[in-house]
Amino acid sequence: MFGLSPDEVGILELSLRVALVSVICSLPLAILVAYVLARYSFPGKTLVDAIVHLPLVLPPVVVGFALLVLFGKRGPIGSWLDEWLGIVFAFRWTGAALASALMGFPLMVRAIRLSLEAVDQRLEVAARTLGGSRAWVFASITLPLALPGIITGTLLSFARGLGEFGATITFVSNIPGETQTLPLAIYTYTQVPGGDAQALRLSVVAVILSIIALVTSEWLTRRSERMQGNDRR
């Protein structure tokens, strides 16, 4: 496919799966957190805000190490999940998805929060007086109006997930076919004598993917703005 070897296709497929699953699973929580931060004030809000932003400023290795301690086979959360729900993160692709979700979370929350703050709350009041319950008003007014921010946040987090390296390699190691995503594979090739050509090929793939993500993001944002009647034409 596109002149890629089966190994390379496998790496690409794994990377996309990890990034996709990470954004799909973190999106609802990100919307919830963004909504709470945008609309409510409560004691400890600054602390919650800081914790959400922590992955943005911590060394990724620290995040990966924290995941290893908490979500590892013997970690307090990891062992509980394994025992009761049969979910294992350690050294699995799901762990890679968890790591990228966590690293992309601040970007996602930030973008969604900004667009939620831009929604005129009086539109929600108007919808309530027309008979809409809180939940229906959120679904029919607030979410559609915040859509550009939700798209931007999702794609930023997706792109961040595709590039995730430090937290992933620390948490789930570098297992070909299981946790070896694109950046990890590139890193591996650079450590092997004569692997430069391979590293270069994969780097080109990474660049192309990033461009596709950015262009898609731009296109979707424009489209949703047009849907909202905000286009300048």
Partner: protein, 362 residues
Amino acid sequence: MIDVDVEQQLGAFRLDVKFAVEAPIVGLFGRSGAGKTSVINAIAGITTPSRGRIRINEIALFDAAQGINVPPERRRIGYVFQDALLFPHMDVEANLLYGQKLRASNDRPIDDKRVVELLGLGALLRRKPRMLSGGEKQRVAIGRALLAQPRILLLDEPLAALDVARKAEILDYIERLRDELSIPIIYVSHSVAEISRLADTVVLLAEGECLAVGDVDDVMGRLDLRPATGRYEAGSLIETRVAAHDVDDQLTTLAFDGGELIVPYLDAAVGSRVRARIRARDVSLAAERPARVSILNILAGRVATMDVTDGPVADVQLAVGSAILNARITRRSFRHMGIHVGQDVYALVKSVSFEQRDAGDA
């Protein structure tokens, strides 16, 4: 029946109003900052008063003592906001149907086709709110509120953002609604002209309190309320009976103890009671009975009170039989005629200045 008795602290502003009114259109009048919007926000359930009760047609929407506080989505109050607040991501049709869809299909007495026709929205249905003019936005907002099947319609200064031509257009539409749909309207405004044209009953607010409630002309004409109402062009209400019809000339004669009024043809039986409203500026005064003038209504009266200020006009109240007739003339004529209390004068009222709606059933 709209029954409001609430107290609420809003920052440094204190709202403490109590009134009970019943009329097709109730005007909520006051200068900006008087608490008009606070009152209708409390009625709509957007804000919660600290004490009191709100009832519409005997249905309790809020009662602090009984712990009743119906959420806004179940109050069935149609709220038309000052700046329309149309949903920008929906076209006009989706905006109109937003509230209707949330009502059961057997609970929609106000039909969408009828509203589209009444408000002239047919050509706009596919447009986005961004592509509408200010007047069109307000019409869509009124239609959207009506289709949510409200018990009562709240209009919060719906003309504030419009130019003069659009204002007149929306006023016409509001009058059509009043005549065609039997939904009581609370019309909020700081404009004397709008209130006196539309409202039957007025609630006068100042600094969070209700200063007066009653017939528009009574309240707005009261001299002691001038600080809150500003200078108001008073009208007069005269209780009359239909004396005769002249089908050829399309005129009706109304009789009262001060004389007769000839007005454009009214569709009312001879002998029925009719309340005629005469605007003060449509009344001219003459010191002697004029002959050979086009004006049909010449009433003999006596000057009862007068109010002359620094402006160009003077307000004169005449006793005509047992009725009171307000006349507004220029200060110059007032001086030339040497008008004084107790003087006998003739009031001239043009027949064509009566409009059908000015003479409602008593």
